[in-house]
């Protein structure tokens, strides 16, 4: 089984986007069984209707999709209410925070009420990680230590800077915080992913494409061609995502 732990849905303010039909068609072509949908930031900046759209798509194909609730922490109480609505009414499986596109520091205090609400619901938090100033591994690290009972998923392998300086920072974050995993998408240096899986833990890396920001087919090659055992690859392809997002393995 293959689970893509991070796929964007909708048409984004910043120019990227894709429809459910496009996502489904490519998943079928590439042999991807399930995907976790995250809303893009739309032209009108309103994330609530995007959370609705994700929920509608999940309801249309519940065996193929799960959805994340996306909010802007700067919205304060309204954001907390939206998280609550996302989990209670829309059935979202986790919270998506994008410090880069929503322009906040990942470990800023404005995030705390959102995490308290998420913790209360026992859901994981996916963070767009690796961006300068707002979501360095040390900032995710700080957040994860303040909320040790929340599972965090750091996008972009925790780092997207090909200078490589954040590779060691990400590893230290993972070693210090057992409640943090990383996604494979966009990662610089495949040997870094292999190192984390073999030396830090087989349960710490999730296959994710962040399509259409990254190329889903190319992102699969990272796992397919990795120097890992079949058992380790099975963890990355699906088992880790199924565990983090508490996904049923039902098909049909």
């Amino acid at each position: 089984m293959i689970v893509d732990a991070h796929v964007f849905l909708g048409s984004c303010l910043f120019g990227y986007g894709q429809s459910l039909d496009e996502i489904l068609s490519r998943m079928d072509r590439l042999g991807i069984d399930k995907a976790v949908l995250a809303p893009v930031k739309p032209q009108d900046y309103h994330l609530g209707p995007m959370n609705d759209l994700v929920a509608e798509c999940v309801a249309r194909r519940p065996t193929r999709f799960m959805g994340l609730c996306r909010v802007d922490p700067w919205q304060g109480r309204a954001a907390v209410a939206e998280v609550s609505r996302g989990f209670e009414e829309l059935g979202h499986c986790g919270l998506y925070l994008d410090p880069w596109e929503e322009n906040f520091q990942a470990n800023d205090d404005i995030v705390v009420p959102l995490l308290e609400e998420t913790r209360r619901r026992g859901r994981p938090v996916v963070v767009n990680a690796g961006h300068v100033r707002v979501s360095h591994p040390t900032q995710i690290w700080d957040l994860a230590r303040r909320f040790p009972d929340i599972s965090f998923v750091a996008c972009n392998g925790g780092q997207i800077n090909i200078c490589g300086m954040l590779l060691s920072e990400t590893r230290r974050m993972l070693e210090a915080c057992p409640n943090v995993c990383i996604e494979t998408a966009g990662t610089y240096r495949e040997d870094f992913l292999e190192e984390i899986i073999t030396e830090v833990g087989e349960g710490r890396v999730l296959f994710a494409s962040r399509s259409p920001v990254y190329d889903q087919e190319f992102e699969m090659a990272r796992v397919r061609l990795a120097h890992l055992t079949e058992s380790q690859k099975a963890q990355v392809w699906s088992a880790n995502a199924l565990s983090v997002f508490d996904i049923s393995t039902g098909t049909g």
Binding site: Y188, D191, A221, L225
Partner: protein, 83 residues
């Protein structure tokens, strides 16, 4: 920058975007885009796969994989034009 200065050549290594390779070829030409892996950190098999996913014509792919670097090496090699 590469569009403005013809003496700049780009290589394909490490970027996670096959479409960026196609865009580079369209904007500056395949003679100035070189396949490179940044190996061993980046797996050469994946880096080759990335170029093949870029959707280049056979002629451009051929240039990126070897003809463009060959032309540069010929130019700078002893006895070449760059001597």
């Amino acid at each position: 920058v590469a569009e403005r200065y013809p003496n700049i050549v780009l290589d394909t290594s490490a970027i996670p975007y096959p479409r960026a390779i196609k865009e580079a070829v369209e904007r500056i030409g395949s003679t100035r885009v070189l396949y490179a892996s940044d190996g061993p950190g980046c797996d050469p098999r994946i880096e080759v796969h990335k170029v093949r996913l870029a959707g280049l014509t056979a002629q451009d792919e051929d240039a990126v994989f070897h003809r463009s670097i060959q032309a540069i090496l010929d130019r700078v090699s002893v006895g070449g034009d760059g001597r």
